[in-house]
């Protein structure tokens, strides 16, 4: 029993790490542009598939193949795949901002909800046209030998996901709080007009926010692919749970978002022990519960609308 719980805790933390990365991505665009990427989930899938096709490229297989067979990509190939996933996703984020967000940002009516959703639908249908709907087993960069700790078996990819997530988030936190770029970003988040009067290039900051946020989505897809198989449909639930984590923690507070992401991963993993089909229901019930008592999340600050 204790082993099962511990096992669930560790895999929950690993998946929670991926959720936290997604949640952080939501938080970044929301604070700087007051918009969210409603296709963030598709971006997670896209990250997984771009990483995968980069591996195919190194192994000399056609990009549209759907199986690795016996081929095991080396460390260099994996590193290349990581860089490719981050870079391409960053570019996609920039494209999304230019096509779907900038024309609508700051205007009433939330047309950006539709345009970002549409962008995701396009991404997914392109993916379906290339790879089809079947999930692909992706080899892990750190191998698949199960490590035994305290009597429970842990997959190295889970530890890697957890580690990478923690490192990225600590790094992000430092950048936001200690550097000039972080200060500029926070200034744009507080008041874009004033920030631009102070000579901050708000447009660049907003593009940067989308690039970073999309790259984080790509990273989480890249990390999740070996754990859960790469699938074009994996992203939707990951994206939603990342958003749920962000809502639980408070969208306006990056640290809160990260905590929310981890919390959700563990909760989901625990519910999974008991009844798998109630997993999603439990997660969203928690979100509704949190929103009912603290609409701005556990760590979010409430905003006062001036009348």
């Amino acid at each position: 029993m204790v082993e099962a719980l511990l096992q669930a805790l560790i895999s929950g933390l690993a998946v929670g790490g991926a959720y936290a990365l997604v949640a952080l991505g939501f938080s970044i665009t929301f604070t700087t542009t007051k918009t969210l990427n409603f296709s963030h989930g598709e971006f997670v899938s896209a990250g997984a598939f771009i990483g995968m096709s980069a591996l195919f490229l190194v192994l000399g297989k056609p990009l549209s193949s759907t199986t690795f067979g016996d081929a095991v990509p080396g460390a260099g190939a994996q590193l290349f795949a990581l860089v490719a996933a981050l870079g391409v996703m960053g570019l996609l984020g920039w494209l999304l901002y230019v096509l779907g967000v900038r024309p609508f940002a700051g205007r009433p009516g939330m047309a950006w909800v539709m345009s970002t959703l549409g962008f995701g639908v396009i991404l997914q249908s392109v993916g379906l046209a290339i790879w089809g709907p079947k999930p692909v087993v992706v080899p892990a960069p750190v191998g698949d030998t199960v490590i035994r700790m305290f009597g429970v078996g842990v997959r190295p990819q889970e530890l890697l996901t957890l580690g990478v997530a923690v490192v990225v988030m600590i790094g992000f936190d430092r950048v936001m709080n200690r550097t000039m770029i972080g200060k500029a970003m926070r200034a744009v988040a507080q008041n874009g007009n004033v920030a631009s009067l102070m000579g901050i290039n708000t447009n660049a900051m907003m593009i940067g926010a989308f690039v970073v946020s999309s790259a984080l989505a790509g990273l989480s897809g890249f990390l999740l692919a070996p754990i859960a198989q790469a699938s074009l449909f994996m992203g939707l639930t990951v994206g939603l749970k990342g958003f749920s984590g962000a809502m639980i923690g408070g969208l306006s507070n990056p640290r809160g978002c990260v905590i929310g992401g981890f919390l959700l991963g563990v909760l989901e993993s625990m519910v999974n022990l008991w009844q798998a089909q109630w997993r999603e229901v439990a997660v969203f019930a928690l979100v509704i519960l949190v929103l009912a008592f603290r609409p701005t999340g556990l760590f979010g600050r409430s905003t006062v609308e001036k009348v």
């Binding site: 929301f30 918009t35 969210l36 409603f38 096509l99 779907g100 024309p103 609508f104 009516g109 939330m110 047309a111 909800v113 539709m114 345009s115 959703l117 549409g118 962008f119 995701g120 639908v121 396009i122 991404l123 997914q124 249908s125 392109v126 379906l128 046209a129 939707l236 639930t237 939603l240 958003f243 749920s244 809502m247 969208l251 798998a276 089909q277 999603e280 229901v281 969203f284 979100v287 509704i288 929103l291 009912a292 609409p295 006062v304 609308e305 009348v307």
Partner: protein
């Protein structure tokens, strides 16, 4: 009999369509026609939610599923009549609609959109994974179809049923949306705070919109399940939610005809592309991404551009006579404020403030910037809740009451930074003011019961009278946002008067007006006072304050420093100090007491 022209036309069109359908024997085309009707049902309800209430729902597939699976479970496991099952399915999905609307009490905008999206996904997972009940991908067989004379409906009859339901829904929603409720929904889309300040129960209106969308979507789902006699989890996908949303946005949100256009065009496209599912999805993505950019009003919006111009010129407003009495007049205490305190962190806009307002008087609330005047108005009207203290209006403590309740009690207000419903006409803005005074309910509006029409006409007449009072009768049909600033202030005043206030709160009514306009405003306020309305105004124009007010209250940093007759207040040394400041003791002594 102009009123019956539209329903007659709809019945005629529906009859012609039914005739055409019964001539056709091609099952493929009949199937497409049936799906057009089904999607119209979804889209028409969704239009109430998206186009009128301005709430984005990304989980309509969940409601579609609620209807479809309700009908499936009832008809495959019990002996109930399939028609009754259809009705129950509508109720079940309506209940689910309330369920999604609940979070809208606490969250708005993108949060709410995400919650609805989550709802859709949860339902998708439930019907897919909870196989004991919903059968998952295996699905539920043996759903009994609707029957006519004991026989299951034929393909032609299904389409006729679809057309009849669509026509009926169109007429019902038209009744609902062209009157009191349509206006209320549009107003809360534009500005929730202003909406509640004119007496619209914002939350209830939102729930209503969610339920309407849920019921129509549930009926659509139930029809599909009964027609196929089979349902499985493949029907319920995120793409269905997107498709339903797209029907409205592509056709034209907020227009009565948008959903029709959207349903016909997109269902036809869907059928054409059915062989290439990824091309279908690509097209929907493309439309979502660019449709709103290229045509914000949808297909219908493109055509409206030409029609609307001619409509604006058409009607000249014919207001008649003077408004006469607005409030009850009389004498005595109207409002008592006792020890009201409010603080935002270190800023304290009200500290233990007390004052009394008399019926029939014009009161002024003055003070330097940051004195807490607007906060006081907001606390009186229920927009902001005070930390401590009692506000008694008509002998009743109104602290903690929602804004619309306070409005219904008889307190009207204007805003410092105009909060008009910019896209609505001047007339609609003022008619909205009377929202809380209209007694026609949801059902009587839906079926266009004669009382609803009577209320509507009375409100219209009253609004035109008030517009004449403020001198804007000739601009009644212009969008409020298109008027110059000074005139917009007057529209807001007329809207506040339409709520039939006993106490009118004006937050800087003369801001941005030139001296001539300010003097005219003063005369107007005196005239309004004579109609039985007591006034409390926040104002910086001292000449206006001194010339028309009976009683002046002075705030400084959230503290009441003086009150009394205008002349007495003007001479009060503490007031002078607050406005001009003092350097030291000598200056203080130099001010004549």
């Amino acid at each position: 009999m102009k009123r019956l022209a539209h329903p007659a036309a709809v019945v005629l069109v529906a009859a012609v369509l039914c005739g055409l359908v019964s001539l056709s024997g091609n099952d493929y085309y009949l199937r497409i026609a049936f799906m057009m009707c089904v999607y119209y049902l979804c889209a028409a309800g969704m239009n109430v939610l998206v186009g009128y209430a301005g709430q984005k729902s990304l989980g309509q597939a969940g409601l579609f599923a609620a209807g479809a699976y309700a009908v499936a479970l009832i008809t495959s496991r019990t002996e109930l009549s399939p028609w009754l099952a259809l009705v129950i399915a509508a109720v079940v999905s309506g209940v689910c609609g309330v369920l999604i609307a609940l979070p809208s009490l606490r969250v708005k905008g993108p949060y709410l959109a995400m919650v609805t999206l989550a709802f859709g996904i949860v339902v998708e997972k439930l019907v897919g994974e909870w196989t004991d009940v919903f059968g998952g991908a295996q699905g539920i067989y043996g759903i009994r179809p609707l029957t006519w004379n004991g026989q299951p409906l034929s393909s032609v009859q299904w389409v006729i049923l679809g057309i009849v339901l669509s026509a009926a829904l169109h007429l019902l929603l038209r009744n609902l949306l062209q009157g009191r409720f349509g206006r209320a929904l549009l107003s809360l889309q534009a500005d929730e705070i202003a909406s509640s300040s004119v007496g619209v129960r914002v939350y209830r209106a939102k729930v209503m919109a969610f339920v309407v969308a849920a019921v129509t979507c549930g009926i659509a789902g139930a029809l599909v399940a009964q027609q196929n006699q089979y349902i499985n989890s493949d029907f319920i996908t995120f793409h269905l939610s997107i498709f339903i949303l797209l029907l409205v946005l592509f056709g034209g949100a907020g227009s009565m005809y948008g959903p029709i256009v959207g349903a016909v065009l997109l269902t036809a496209t869907d059928a054409l592309l059915a062989r290439w599912p990824s091309a279908q999805h690509f097209l929907y993505g493309f439309l979502l991404l660019f449709a709103l950019y290229v045509m914000p009003g949808g297909v219908v919006g493109l055509f409206n551009k030409w029609f609307l111009k001619s409509r604006h010129r058409g009607e000249g407003a014919a207001g008649s006579g003077v408004p006469g009495q607005i409030g009850p007049g009389g004498e005595g205490e109207l409002l008592v404020v006792q020890g009201v305190t409010k603080s935002y962190g270190g800023v304290k806009p009200a500290q233990d403030v007390s004052f009394r307002l008399q019926r029939g008087h014009i009161h002024a609330l003055i003070g330097p910037n940051g004195a807490g005047k607007s906060t006081m108005i907001n606390m009186l009207t229920g927009v902001v809740e005070p930390d401590a203290g009692v506000i008694r209006f008509l002998g009743r403590n109104i602290v903690g009451q929602p804004a619309h309740t306070i409005c219904c009690l008889g307190m009207g207000r204007t805003f410092q930074n105009l909060r008009l419903f910019a896209d609505l006409s001047v007339l609609d803005n003022v008619m909205l003011g009377r929202h809380s005074r209209m007694s026609n309910g949801f059902l009587s509006s839906l079926v266009a019961w004669p009382t609803a029409g009577k209320q509507e006409r009375a409100t219209r007449e009253r609004a035109l009278q008030l517009l004449d009072l403020v001198g804007l009768g000739h601009l009644a049909h212009w969008p409020a946002g298109s008027l110059p600033y000074g005139l917009q202030r007057r529209v807001e005043l007329a809207r506040a008067l339409a709520t039939e206030p006993q106490l009118l709160l004006l937050d800087e009514p003369a801001a941005g007006l030139n001296p001539q306009e300010t003097a005219e405003l003063g005369e107007l306020l005196v005239r309004i006072g004579k109609c039985g309305v007591s006034i409390l105004m926040v104002e910086h124009h001292m000449d206006l304050v001194m010339s028309i007010s009976d009683h002046v209250i002075v705030l400084d940093y959230g503290v009441k420093i003086a009150e009394g007759k205008p002349a007495a207040v003007q001479a009060n040394p503490r007031v002078v100090e607050a406005y001009l400041g003092v350097d030291d003791e000598e200056d203080m002594a130099a001010v004549p007491a």
